[in-house]
Amino acid sequence: MRDATLLSADHVTVRFGGVVALDDVSLQAGGGAVVGLVGPNGAGKTTLFGVLSGLVRPRGGRVLLRGADVTRASPQRRSHLGLARTFQRIELFTELTVREHLVVAHRAHERRDRRLLTDLAGLGGRPSPREREVVDRLLDLLGLAPMADRPAALLPLGTGRLVEVGRALATEPAVVLLDEPTSGLDVEETRRLARALERTRADLGVAIVLVEHNVDFVLELAEHVTVLDFGKIITTGKPSAIRANEAVQAAYLGSTVAAEAP
């Protein structure tokens, strides 16, 4: 890790009924680093993201965000502390345009979402200079500028994922959790996303945690990879080591065989 740890999960355990979804899982992400999280379907990756972002309460363990214990904190509190995320099953705001997605996220970040009286007086719609700058830069970076004023609900899935990434980055986060950002993206869009993430990491020192099925994408971008299977960490290390690891191949191969069985 280059910088101090921004986000860490310590010995997190989650149970759904009798099923252990996460068993004693720990993960760290530091500033300016990309951490990859891979594993077959049902390994617990999305559950871990739920725990980190405050949508799932863990049975045991702690979550630390920039030094503060946020295990019991609400999602919006974590957002204000600098955490942002995207969703595997896309969660767009169907009535808003692409630009408005980024605008509302940035205004929530600026705490402008609670000024009811300003809004009633008709003074609430003006963008702040900072908002204009952040939103325009992100729209350019993600290649969303041409469709900025389109309703997001009319966009193809891949573009929708980019909108989610833009919305997450518009909160000017210190840590971003990306849940399968490349699924549904074409080659060009994937390349653009990789470039945008690289810029965000390098220029702004943002820590990125990446869940991906596109293993090549992860291994190329991440400098540290954790592999989950059946809710447990089976290995963790540099991408090159992961590529060679037999347990990982077994986990993936096993799941592939199971998936292809009639």
């Binding site: 919006q76 957002s79 767009l92 169907t94 609670r114 008709g122 193809p156 074409d186 060009e188």
Partner: protein, 648 residues
């Protein structure tokens, strides 16, 4: 005392039968049926129509109405309505059944005109004077015994069905995950259809059993609904045994409390009907500590599955001004082409239009279904009337104070229930409105034998608004100001935040929006508008009376606003005017048989149009703009050429 306990158990058993039906349909289909009491009413009337009017024997009438017509009604409602609702956005699910709640009693009154004129004492299943048994030294008559046996049979039968039959297994699986159940080869349609048939049958049975105890008026069946709601809250919507126990408890408390109640005063009248709500509020408070997930049966059914058609971007520049200017022009010109009588009628409509903007904010913007807005309006109306008439305040200040008083009251109710989810908000607002209606508005100094508290016309800036045309113009100005505020809210950051929350609460929370606080703000704004509109409505009528602000009026308001567009300001305007003008036209030009037709149409409109929360107007005005936009997007995608997006 023993007699009271027996009576309490009997009443509780009827509530339990009804509550089990409600829980069953909710768990199997995720549609919370606010029309449950209305269905019970329909079947009860049908039974007495067969039995008393047509002289059918008790077994025949009971079998046909409960055993044949009830399940058929359930099947019909499922096929025509509930089937389509399972994955609809929550608002649509609520409002459709509220529409049915409005429409069914009106349909009954149109189809069975005797229910209006004929006040008759319905008998129980045992005709004549029923024989009295003594069981363990407790006197119990045959009719009561029939009820207790029926409840026991229903409870035993349901638990056998759920635990021991393939259908029960399917129901349990469908409750856990309808999609997985569907994938694994279950016929989920069959499961939900049969649970709706069973649910309406239980409603019908409860209705027929209840009629001898409470009488055969539609308001009594609202009580059946609300008593079941209390039990359902205790059961946290899903537990059949808890619903059964809770219903018995409510029935017992209702009857046994008679022993201590005074013989006159507001408690004598209002306390017993309030018990389900007191129980409901107590349990809502008790459940505050639990996590929200414990309450959400339908976390999977979000609006993402069937997203609404997106709104086209707002018009800009002079185009945006045409519509509002045209509407304002028509409104201001009304006194020129209508007689004073009709200006007076339309004035009431304008006051209601202001009031209806409360739904535009709380439901249209905030995405919440509140069944308590009419009570907030009543609080505004009564406060203004009391201050103006009894304390001699200037009417303008009295109106403003009335609106301000409604705000903290509304926020208290919302604060109690918002954390638990949308359904609980609807139930808590209903509970609150019934408590206020029974315990406050029913007090003699408010009710005044039904005539209410008088309030005069305001006068300020040296203008006396006693003149009908001037008062009308004042209302138009107030409407325009409130409409402008709502527009500002929608165009500001709050509008973006509300739109975000309506689409996805998890995504909104993770970008830093506090869902509870934002909804509280929307609720506060809506309470202010309700209070102001309620005050103005009272001024337009000349008095604040309980009947103007009661539950059955309130649900009709919700239904008609939803029909014309719950997110549309013009929709609220049209809804307000039609609500007043339509009954007036009917009473002037049509025979008495038509009296309930407008109400019926309002309810049916809400059912038909709930799928488009933006209402009729949105459909008409925006469809073609949206089509054009789609074509344009597609053209641009094609123009983008080689890198065609990969479909999911």
């Amino acid at each position: 005392m023993n007699a009271l306990i027996v009576a309490g158990l009997v009443l509780g058993s009827i509530y339990a039968i009804s509550a089990l039906g409600l829980v069953l349909t909710y768990t199997a289909s995720r549609v919370f049926n606010f029309a449950h009491g209305a269905i019970a009413y329909f079947i009860a009337v049908f039974y007495y129509w067969l039995h008393t009017r047509h002289g059918w024997s008790v077994p025949a009438a009971a079998f046909v109405s409960i055993g044949v017509v009830s399940p058929l009604l359930g099947l019909f409602l499922w096929a025509a309505l509930f089937r389509r609702l399972a994955y609809a956005p929550p608002i649509v699910r609520f409002v459709s059944t509220v529409g049915l709640w409005v429409a069914l009693p009106a349909i009954v009154k149109v189809a069975f005109p005797f229910t209006k004129s004929e006040i008759f004492e319905p008998e129980g299943f045992i005709e004549g004077s029923p024989s009295v048994f003594h069981i363990f030294g407790v006197a119990i008559n045959a009719n009561q015994l029939v009820v207790l046996i029926a409840a026991a049979v229903v409870a035993a039968g349901l638990s056998l069905l759920i635990r021991g039959t393939p259908l029960g297994l399917s129901i349990r699986a469908t409750v856990d995950s309808p999609r997985v159940a569907g994938i694994s080869g279950m016929n989920t349609s069959l499961v939900t259809a049969s649970s709706w048939m069973l649910g309406t049958t239980l409603a019908g049975l409860a209705g027929v059993l209840l009629a001898p105890i409470l009488g055969l008026a539609d308001i009594q069946f609202t009580l059946l609904l609300v008593a079941s709601l209390g039990a359902v809250v205790i059961a946290r919507m899903t537990s059949l045994p808890l619903a059964f126990g809770g219903a018995l408890l409510i029935g017992l408390v209702q009857e046994v409390s008679r022993k201590w109640l005074p013989n006159s005063g507001v408690l004598a009248k209002g306390f017993r009907p309030s018990i389900p709500f007191i129980v409901m509020l107590v349990f809502l408070l008790a459940y505050q500590g639990l996590q929200r997930e414990r309450f959400e049966v339908d976390t999977r059914a979000t609006s993402q599955e069937h997203p609404e058609a997106p709104a086209p971007p707002p018009l800009r520049g002079w185009r945006a001004a045409i519509g509002p200017l045209f509407v304002a022009g028509v409104l201001f010109s009304v006194p020129l082409w209508l007689s004073d009588f009709w200006v007076g009628v339309v004035s009431q409509g304008m006051a209601l239009a202001i009031l209806f903007l409360t739904f535009t904010v709380v439901t249209g913007e905030g995405g919440m279904v509140s069944l308590g807005q009419m009570t907030l309006a009543g609080i505004g109306g009564f406060t203004a009337a009391k201050l103006a008439t009894d304390s001699g305040w200037p009417i303008g200040w009295a109106l403003l104070t009335g609106a301000l008083v409604a705000v903290p009251v509304g926020m208290l109710v919302a604060g109690l229930s918002l954390r638990l989810g949308d359904l609980y908000l609807a139930l808590a607002t209903l509970a609150f409105s019934q408590l206020v209606e029974n315990l406050v508005f029913a007090r003699d100094d408010f009710d005044n034998f039904g005539t209410g508290v008088e309030i005069g016309r305001p006068g300020f800036f040296g203008i006396d608004f006693d003149d009908p045309a001037l008062f009308y113009l004042l209302l138009v100005v107030v409407f325009c100001v409130v409409a402008l505020l709502v527009l500002n809210l929608r165009r500001g950051t709050s509008g973006l935040v509300f739109a975000s929350m309506r689409s996805s609460e998890p995504a909104s929370a993770t970008i830093g929006i506090s869902i509870v606080r934002s909804k509280m703000l929307a609720f506060a704004a809506s309470a202010f508008i309700a209070g102001l509109g309620g005050g103005l409505y009272a001024v337009a009528i000349g008095r604040a009376a309980p009947a103007s602000f009661n539950l059955l009026t309130g649900i009709v308001w919700l239904a008609i606003v939803v029909t014309w567009g719950v997110r549309s300001i013009v929709g609220a305007l049209i809804a307000g005017i039609i609500f007043v003008v339509a009954p007036q036209l009917v009473s002037l030009y049509l025979s008495e048989g038509w009296t309930d037709v407008p109400t019926m149409l309002f309810g049916l409109g809400a059912i038909a149009l709930a799928r488009e929360p933006r209402g009729v107007l949105f459909d008409v005005v925006n469809q073609h703009r949206l089509r054009r936009l789609r074509r344009q997007t597609r053209r641009e995608e094609r123009a983008a050429g080689a890198t065609a997006p990969v479909p999911a």
